[in-house]
Amino acid sequence: MNPKRKRRLLLVGLLLLGVSAAVALTLTALKENVSLFITPADIAAGRIPQGNQFRVGGIVVANSVKRDSDSLHIQFDVTDGAGTVRVDYTGILPDLFREGQGIVAQGSIENGIFKANEVLAKHDEKYMPPEVAEALKRANTPAPHPTGAQ
């Protein structure tokens, strides 16, 4: 093999090696670091993913928000019409969090209560997280607000 071809082979080999290593790494990392979206109905039916953290979305049930008087601990119920789950959270809620509003919480289930480490509500009162809109549609509950689509 002449040196020119040898060099090119080396470069191509290195390139392939790098790319395949990166792809393998990316796929593994993706598999381990995604969080699944489930609905309150899934939880009610016992379809709870193992291990990892996941997200749950729905509407905050009216009059369900209970706040401790001396800390930032808060509990509220989230529903998609077909099921309801209690969410437990400590911290500051987003600006647009309120009863009747669609939210998404991230965390895990402990003793039937969803322990959230993050609560998201989008920055537009018209806006419904698409996952929540779809979950509501599946459970045949009319959305309390119009979704973003017009």
């Binding site: 790494l25 969080s35 989008k122």
Partner: protein, 658 residues
């Protein structure tokens, strides 16, 4: 009457764009000079028409013409005039108009500055940019008309999204679009080169400053967006790996690779087909970014609308542009390959390696951004990919890049000796140790991640300073002044140093920040790393178009008040939207950040976020260095001399032919 004029001018500009896309291109094949010259005229007319409709839309906002639906949806009589101007690009329709306006601006700049380019080549470049503007003008005309009327006209408009009522957001979209759209120049050059079947290194040199400027603008846009998110969203983060942020980061990564490979192609006539491919990829990613943001397929703070027809249009357009360019590439690229000898240890190989890692980083971001979409389309389940994924993979891809960065400039083209380079790099290692020690001593909590990131930053900064110093010394030996360094080199040094500064900022902020969410009654205080935050209560306050509860927080150090902050919780009257306005005591080596959550109980207590963020300013400071580096490099005299040389040769040719 006026809005209709704006719409007519938009439709006319679409017709002009179509002719610009076709006539000069045909002319270049049929060798019809008049048809080719048509490109310059069409570019001008197109720019004038789009500018006219942009001005008319702006006037509609200034005159509070709520009979225009877009104006009624995005402004309000109480909105201050400067936000009424920035509201023009505050939502979907207007921001697309801005996109096209900037595209027409770049086209006219190419037409004005491009007289040194051969006529046929210039005609093709402008025609290809015409294809892009055709697509976007058709998109606006058929799916997103900003001049749509409302009848009867409402007496009062809704409001501009309060998040966008901010000086940072006035300039963020134009900057970002300057970058996105600026890459269309490199794209048009690449495609024109493919059509020609050759890419002359003089034209490559000519394309370099444009790419530099586009890259600098994109850098600026991203930095502004990050800074805005930090103080405006009220969470105190500077990057969220939000899909829309990723959408701007992908063209940046590809564009960075493009900048470097353009240098190789110009200087060594190597990697031509790789450079062309990168130019196509970079602009396609800009289009993809526009698609992701505009189609509403992604859940994000930026997703204004979710109109499927719009998404479909951009997707088809993206497929046509990127697919067409890539097909042409597959067909023609083999012709661009020029054999040049180069050694295994040489600057071109180091740059190529850097390029590969930049592209890998881009692929990592792309995968994380599109994976949820793909899984959703397959109907498997709904998932989201969050920061943990990026935090796992990104450092691994960046490590080789960081290691290579200070070495590249020291290494010679063609062939070099590793031993020679190592000898030159030595002082940089010492500098690295010093810088790292300075930062490590300021770390108050142990963090392996923080130390590694700080080491990376120190290595890049130390290595770059070392290069600067050695280069200066060499310049002095040759009895040249300080100003004798070519500005291309100065720009490179600035940008590389910026990366170091940025990494140090990231290392300190990410590993040493302290964030506390606390319940505070008036008079209570909380301590963070030697700073006492004392809450004095909240009072009612009023702004031009909002009502607020304004808190007062005193910050004490060693019992001395060093700052009094006034965070606000605002309620915008028109839209009824709440907003958190954080208050920040900014500093060179640390920020103190206070934001209000919600009122609790009856004793005047509030939920309050108090953050200590060391060196967070360095993140944006590094970005500003990179931006300046891009601009300085674009002013390199060598680029202009090259233009003159091309012009001279053209004249000679014309004389010979005549």
């Amino acid at each position: 009457m006026f809005p209709e004029l704006g719409q007519w001018s938009l439709i006319l500009s679409l017709l002009v764009a179509v002719s610009l896309a076709i006539v000069p291109l045909l002319g270049s094949y049929l060798r019809l000079e008049g048809w080719m010259r048509f490109a310059d005229r069409a570019t001008r007319v197109q720019f004038a028409l789009v500018l006219l409709s942009f001005v008319i839309l702006t006037l509609a906002f200034l005159q509070k013409d709520f009979s225009v639906a877009y104006v009624a949806q995005n402004s309000n009589t109480a909105l201050p005039w400067y936000y009424r101007i920035s509201a023009v690009w505050g939502a979907h329709e207007g921001s697309l108009l801005l996109w096209v306006l900037i595209l027409c601006g770049w086209s006219i700049a190419v037409s004005l500055k491009g007289h040194e380019l051969p006529l046929a080549f210039r005609a093709r470049v402008l025609a290809i940019m015409g294809w892009v503007s055709t697509g976007f003008l058709a998109f606006i005309t058929f799916t997103s008309n900003p001049f749509l009327r409302l009848f009867p006209a409402p007496a009062e408009g809704r409001d501009l999204n309060p998040l966008l009522q901010d000086p940072g957001l006035v300039i963020h979209p134009p900057m970002l679009y300057m970058g996105y759209v600026g890459f269309s120049v490199a794209f048009a050059f690449a495609v024109a080169g493919l059509l020609d079947g050759k890419l002359d290194s003089r034209w490559v040199r000519w394309a370099r400053p444009w790419t530099n400027l586009a890259w600098a603008a994109l850098t600026g846009g991203i930095v502004l967006g990050s800074w805005w998110a930090y103080y405006e969203l009220g969470w105190g983060g500077w990057w969220f790996w939000d899909p829309v942020e990723n959408a701007s980061f992908m063209p940046w990564l590809a564009g960075t690779a493009l900048l470097h490979s353009l240098a190789v192609t110009e200087k060594r006539k190597l990697f031509t087909s790789w450079t062309v491919l990168l130019a196509i990829i970079t602009f396609s990613l800009s289009l993809l970014g526009t698609f992701l943001v505009r189609s509403g397929v992604l859940t994000s703070v930026h997703a204004f609308t979710s109109d499927p027809s719009r998404g479909l249009f951009i997707l088809i357009f993206l497929a046509v542009m990127a697919g067409g360019a890539l097909t042409l590439y597959a067909w023609r690229a083999p012709r661009l390959v020029v054999q040049q000898p180069f050694g295994l240890f040489s600057r071109e190989v180091l740059i190529l390696a850097g390029n590969i890692f930049l592209v890998l980083a881009m692929v990592v971001v792309l995968a994380g951004t599109l994976y949820p979409l793909v899984i959703d389309l397959l109907g498997a389940s709904k998932i989201s990919v969050g920061p943990p994924y990026f935090h796992t993979v990104f450092p691994l891809v960046l490590t080789p890049l960081v290691l290579l960065m200070p070495m590249g400039p020291f290494t010679r083209w063609k062939q070099d000796e590793p031993r020679r380079v190592v000898k030159l790099i030595w002082p940089g290692v010492l500098l690295t140790v010093v810088v790292l020690a300075v930062f490590a001593l300021q770390m108050h909590q142990w963090s392996a991640y923080g130390l590694l990131a700080a080491a990376a930053g120190s290595w890049v900064l130390g290595g770059t300073l070392n290069y600067f110093w050695q280069r200066q010394r060499k310049a002095r030996e040759r009895v040249l002044g300080v100003g004798q360094m070519p500005s291309g080199v100065v720009g490179m040094i600035l940008a590389h140093a910026g990366v170091g500064v940025f990494l140090l900022g990231v290392a300190m902020t990410e590993s040493q920040s302290i964030e506390k969410d606390v319940r505070m009654a008036p008079g209570e205080q909380v301590e963070l790393v030697g700073y006492q935050f004392r809450f004095l209560g909240a009072q009612h306050a009023e702004g031009p178009n909002y009502q607020a509860e304004q808190g007062t927080v005193e910050i004490l150090k060693n019992d001395q008040v060093i700052a009094t902050l006034h965070p606000q919780k605002r309620m915008y009257v028109a839209g009824g939207k709440p907003m958190t306005e954080a208050a920040i005591d900014a500093g060179f080596s640390r920020d103190l950040y206070v934001a209000m959550g919600e009122a609790l109980g009856t004793d005047g207590a509030w939920a309050i976020r108090v953050y200590y963020k060391p060196y967070i300013r360095w993140i944006w400071l590094g970005g500003i260095f990179m931006l300046l580096g891009g601009i300085v490099a674009a002013t390199d005299r060598r680029f202009r001399l090259a233009e003159q040389a091309v012009a001279l040769r053209e004249q000679k040719l014309a004389l010979q032919e005549g």
